[in-house]
C-alpha cells in the first residue's frame, strides 16, 4: 500500500518571531525550524500502517523553500521511504488552495491509496489544506481523527473523527484523505541508523511547471503582519488566601464584570 504524507516546515513554537522587512512575513533570521507537530502524528500513523501490513511505501511531500529539505530529511529519518520537495519561488505566497492544488497534482502522479496530513500547521494555523485537497481530488476526507484501521484489502479505511461531544466513526473508500492530531499516536524519535539512512534516501525536487500547474496569484493574501496589542497590566492580589479570594471575586464582579 502506498501512502503519501503531506508535511510543512514551521518555526519551533519556542522561537521568537519578528516581523520581517516588507511587513508581510516573518524575519527568517535566527529561527529554529521543525516539522509541524501535527504532521509528525501523520508520519507516525503512515509508518504504523505500513509496518502493520508488512509492506508498502510512505512518501513525504513538502511545499516550501530550500530550507524545507531539512524537514523532509527528518521524516525520512523517522522511516519514510522517499521525499518530494515542491520548491518553486512561484509558491512563496501560496495560500491553502494553491498548496492543495500543488499537492493534488503530485498525488495524481504518485497515485497513493491514502493521504495523511496534520490537522493544521502551527505557523499560520489555517487548518484548511486537508479538506481542500480532498475537494480538489474529489476524495472523501475525515479530519482530526483519533483512531483508524485500513481493511485487509486496502479498499477502505475506518476512521474515528473528533467532534464536539463525541467521536464519529466512518468507513471511507480508498483513496481518501485523513488528518492526524494529538491522541492518535506517539511519534517515534529517529534512531541514529534512521538519521544515517535518511541521507541516502531520494528527495525529488519539483517545480510548478513539472506538475503542469499555472502560476496564479493566491486567492487569499497577507496584507500585513502586526504585533499583538499589549494587554493592560495585571495585578497580583496580596494578602492571605481568604482575603485575596474575596478581593478576586469582588474584582471579577465589579471591575472586570466577568462573573
Amino acid at each position: 500500500m502506498k501512502i503519501l504524507v503531506a508535511i510543512k516546515q514551521v518555526p519551533d513554537t519556542a522561537t521568537q518571531v519578528k516581523i520581517g522587512a516588507g511587513g508581510k512575513a516573518i524575519d527568517p533570521a535566527g529561527i529554529t525550524w521543525i516539522v509541524s507537530p501535527y504532521d509528525e502524528f501523520a508520519v507516525e500513523e503512515a509508518l504504523r500502517i505500513k509496518e502493520k501490513r508488512g509492506q508498502g511505501e510512505v512518501v513525504a511531500v513538502c511545499l516550501g523553500p530550500d530550507r524545507a529539505k531539512e524537514a523532509l530529511r527528518s521524516c525520512l529519518a523517522m522511516g519514510c521511504d522517499r521525499g518530494i520537495h515542491l520548491n518553486d519561488p512561484a509558491w512563496v505566497a501560496a495560500d491553502t488552495l494553491t498548496t492543495a492544488r500543488a499537492l493534488a497534482a503530485v498525488i495524481k502522479q504518485e497515485q497513493p491509496q491514502l493521504v495523511l496530513c496534520g490537522r493544521q500547521a502551527i505557523d499560520d494555523d489555517m487548518g484548511a489544506v486537508t479538506a481542500q485537497l480532498a475537494e480538489v481530488l474529489g476524495w472523501p476526507c475525515a479530519a482530526w481523527i483519533m483512531e483508524e484501521s485500513v481493511d485487509a484489502d486496502a479498499k477502505s479505511i475506518r476512521a474515528a473523527r473528533q467532534m464536539e461531544g463525541g467521536l464519529e466513526v466512518f468507513d471511507l473508500p480508498l483513496p481518501a484523505v485523513i488528518s492526524a492530531q494529538k491522541g492518535l499516536n506517539e511519534p517515534r524519535y529517529p534512531t541514529l541508523k534512521g538519521i544515517m539512512g535518511a541521507k541516502k534516501k531520494e528527495i525529488k525536487d519539483l517545480k510548478a511547471g513539472d506538475l503542469g500547474l499555472p502560476t496564479e496569484p493566491p486567492q487569499l493574501s497577507v496584507v500585513a503582519l502586526e504585533a499583538l496589542p499589549p494587554r493592560p497590566a495585571g495585578r497580583v492580589i496580596p494578602g492571605d488566601v481568604p482575603t485575596a479570594v474575596k478581593e478576586l471575586v469582588r474584582a471579577l464582579r465589579e471591575e472586570a464584570k466577568a462573573i
Binding site: 481542500q132 482530526w144 466513526v169 471511507l172 503582519l225 462573573i259
Partner: protein, 325 residues
C-alpha cells in the same frame, strides 16, 4: 439588493441553532449585511428559525434533508456551493466548529476562492474585506484579504459581540431544492463522550484550567465542583494531559483546543508558550500559582500567588455566596 453575507448555521443536531450564531450574525450585520442564515440540517425546529430571525438574520435559506446528518463535508460543500453559485453572496461566514472548519474549507476550494480560518476581527476596506487572525502560536496577528468574492471565513467563538435577540423579528424562509451529492463516506457509529454536565470547552464563556500543579488526576474534582457553581468548562495544560491526568480533548493550547472565553482561570498552570497559544485571546485571565515567577502572571489580569489547594475551595465557596445572592 446588496449581496448578502451568509452565516452558515451551527446547530445542536436537534433542530436549534447554537448561540455562537448570535456572534456570527451580529458580525455580519455590523459589516453592513444583509445577514442571511443558511441552515443545512435533517430537522429544523420552528423555534430555531425564529431564533435566527431574532438575532437579526433577514432571510433563512433552509436546506432540510436527511442527507445532511450525520455531517459529511462532501455533502455539505456540494449543497452550499450550488446555492452560492446561484445566489452570489459576497461573503460566507461560519463559526469555528468541527464541522464548519472542514466544510467551509472544502467549499472555498470548490468555489476557487480564499478562506480565512479562525478569524478574530474584520473590517471593510475599500471594496474588499480584511480579516485579522492570530498566527505563530498567537504571537503575531496576520491581516489577510481575498482575491474575489465570496469571502469565506470561519470566526473564533466568544470573540465577536453577539447580536441581542429581539422577539417579534421575522425572516423570510426560503427552501431551495438542494443538490445532494452521493456520499462516499459511510456512517458507522457515534460514540458519545461521558458528559461531565459542564459546557463544551470551545463554547464555554468561562473556562477553568488545571496544570501540573494539580498533582494528579484525582484532584480535578475540585475544579469540576467550581465549574458546576459558575457554569464553566474544565480544561488542562499539555503537561497535565501528557501525564495522562486528562483526556486529549481537554487540552488547551497548541496541539489542543484554542479557546477565547470571557473568563479564563488557570490553577497550577505555568503558562508555557504552547498553552498561551490556545488561550491568550481570553478577555479576562486569572492565574493562581505558588511560583511568583510563573510566566502566566505576565499576561494575567489578576493573580494570586498561593497554593491552589487552598485557593480553589475558598474561591468556590465565595462564588457560591456571590451567585446565591
Amino acid at each position: 439588493m446588496a449581496n448578502a453575507i451568509w452565516c452558515v448555521v451551527e446547530d445542536d443536531r436537534k433542530g436549534m441553532p447554537k448561540k455562537v450564531m448570535a456572534e456570527v450574525i451580529g458580525e455580519a450585520a455590523r459589516l453592513g449585511g444583509p445577514a442571511e442564515a443558511v441552515w443545512l440540517t435533517d430537522t429544523a425546529r420552528d423555534e430555531g428559525l425564529k431564533q435566527l430571525a431574532g438575532w437579526g438574520a433577514t432571510k433563512v435559506w433552509l436546506l432540510e434533508n436527511a442527507a445532511f446528518a450525520p455531517y459529511r463535508s462532501e455533502v455539505w460543500a456540494a449543497a452550499l456551493a450550488e446555492l452560492a453559485t446561484a445566489q452570489s453572496p459576497k461573503a460566507i461566514f461560519g463559526p469555528v466548529t468541527s464541522r464548519q472548519r472542514e466544510a467551509l474549507a472544502r467549499l472555498a476550494a470548490r468555489l476557487g476562492v480564499g478562506i480565512s480560518a479562525d478569524s478574530v476581527a474584520f473590517s471593510i476596506e475599500g471594496e474588499g474585506l480584511v480579516a485579522t487572525r492570530p498566527v505563530y502560536a498567537g504571537k503575531l496577528l496576520s491581516k489577510v484579504t481575498w482575491g474575489k468574492q465570496p469571502w469565506v471565513a470561519t470566526l473564533r467563538p466568544n470573540v465577536f459581540r453577539p447580536a441581542e435577540s429581539q422577539a417579534g423579528k421575522t425572516a423570510a424562509v426560503e427552501r431551495p431544492s438542494a443538490k445532494i451529492a452521493n456520499a462516499q463516506m459511510k456512517f458507522i457509529e457515534r460514540r458519545e463522550e461521558v458528559s461531565t454536565g459542564l459546557p463544551e470547552l470551545t463554547e464555554a464563556e468561562i473556562v477553568i484550567s488545571g496544570g501540573r500543579g494539580m498533582k494528579g488526576p484525582e484532584n480535578y474534582v475540585i475544579l469540576e465542583a467550581m465549574g458546576k457553581v459558575i457554569g464553566a468548562a474544565v480544561g488542562a495544560s499539555r503537561a497535565a494531559v501528557d501525564a495522562g491526568w486528562r483526556p486529549h480533548r481537554f487540552q488547551i493550547g497548541q496541539t489542543g483546543r484554542t479557546i477565547s472565553p470571557k473568563l479564563y482561570m488557570g490553577f497550577g498552570v505555568s503558562g508555557a508558550i504552547q498553552h498561551l497559544a490556545g488561550m491568550r485571546t481570553s478577555k479576562v485571565i486569572v492565574a493562581v500559582n505558588k511560583d511568583p515567577e510563573a510566566p502566566i502572571f505576565k499576561i494575567a489580569d489578576y493573580g494570586i500567588v498561593a497554593d491552589l489547594f487552598e485557593v480553589v475551595p475558598a474561591l468556590t465557596e465565595e462564588f457560591k455566596r456571590l451567585l446565591e445572592k
